[in-house]
Symmetry: C2
Subunit: 218 residues, 2 copies
DNA sequence: AAATATTTTTAGTCTTGACTAAAAATTTAT
DNA sequence: ATAAATTTTTAGTCAAGACTAAAAATATTT
């Protein structure tokens, strides 16, 4: 069975939504994620249900089948391996890889992706700290929590980001926040949720929105 | 100006046809090359003429403009660089690269292709001996002739192939013919055009069709 | 120079994946 | 529990890129 670029993007979007919410995914949520209209989503999920990659009950959202999950994980594996390639071999920075990887993830060739995996020496993480599924779709879940959940005086290490947009990543670069960076919470402001942190012995304040998009292991 | 995957394939096909025939390229020739119908070609060349990448006069075929030529060369550059990558870094053999490169050539990112070029150390040839255009679209034309044009007792080196199909390349592998291989013409059969050649001190006979698809420098 | 054959274009249709507008179903609020 | 708001689906369009069948133009024969 073959899947088009659009179909793969739908499966990936639904997979990501599913790992967050657990429940059946609403038409609207998919539309929002893919920046399209709900009516387009209805059209597509009917087609995907026919292909047995998801189950769909009118007015009740969708849920991936095992096959759908497998295909989504295949696309995610490709996306993340290409990101590693771009950063490690082609001098891309972590804020430049997303758009190109979005294209490369749709290249069809099993040999290509497995040889790429070998060439890169089987990386377990992409440049944003997200796990790379293996051939079978298995990946390690790492223990992580949002920076915003740390208490005052707690210390942690940045292990990932929740937002991989170029704007956000550039912001992090400016504040010297990268994967592996040690971060200590100095104080938290209950008024606006902003957090004062200590990085490389420098104190700085970041907004709640930022703190909600940085994953920490502590 | 942005070009779709289909548009790029048309430009590439017309470019290749143009380098052989010199003249205006007929609708039928394009249809044959792209394995599509003449009517589809007419539709597309109208659109490409609107975009000013080719000139088109009804019933008289088409010819690329400088812009069209530039875009075609960009796609060819990408195709050939990816082929080098696949062979040199990912253990592909020369008969396995074509289909994957056909996909990769449409990835849009100037940084990607120029960094890839750097990573590969600016190769001048792809795995089939075809020249790789540089950023400006310039490439070296090498002196080469068909094996079938060599005279008896002449010696030459294989520098390219005219047919990059997997079947043909696998045939060459079986007969130990690869780029750089020294080949001596022992005798030629005027009856069917077949050629007896000497490779690694072994004599073998190849058909005219094969001899017409191997490029030699002598 | 007709007649015939070939090539090319036109006209109309199809599929994919999107869209808008309106109808139907479901939720939320009163 | 009914009204109002929201979500989802249906119905009808549209553009890209392909197709078939037929018409028009060009080439080739005789």
């Amino acid at each position: 069975m073959m899947f088009t670029l659009s179909e793969e993007n739908y499966l990936k979007a639904i997979f990501h939504l599913q790992t967050v919410s657990g429940k059946g995914i609403s038409t609207n949520a998919i539309a929002k994620k893919l920046e399209t209209k709900a009516s387009s989503v209805t059209d597509m999920i009917k087609k995907l249900a026919d292909k047995e990659v998801l189950t769909y009950i009118k007015y009740q959202g969708v849920s991936l089948t095992d096959l759908g999950r497998k295909i989504a994980l295949g696309v995610i594996r490709k996306h993340r391996l290409w990101e590693v390639f771009l950063v490690e071999k082609l001098n891309f920075s972590w804020d430049e890889v997303h758009d190109v990887a979005e294209q490369l993830e749709h290249i069809k060739s099993t040999k290509l992706i497995n040889e790429l995996d070998t060439f890169l020496e089987f990386p377990k993480m992409d440049p944003h700290g997200d796990p790379i599924p293996d051939k079978e779709g298995k990946f390690q879940k790492i223990e992580k929590k949002l920076l915003s959940t740390l208490k005052e005086n707690q210390l942690g290490v940045c292990v990932g980001v929740n937002d991989s947009s170029s704007e956000f990543l550039k912001y992090l670069d400016r504040y010297q926040i990268s994967l592996g960076q040690k971060i200590r919470v100095v104080s938290k402001e209950s008024f606006d949720g902003s957090v004062t942190i200590l990085i490389n012995n420098k104190e700085m304040s970041i907004s709640q929105k930022i703190a909600n998009n940085i994953y920490i292991q502590s």
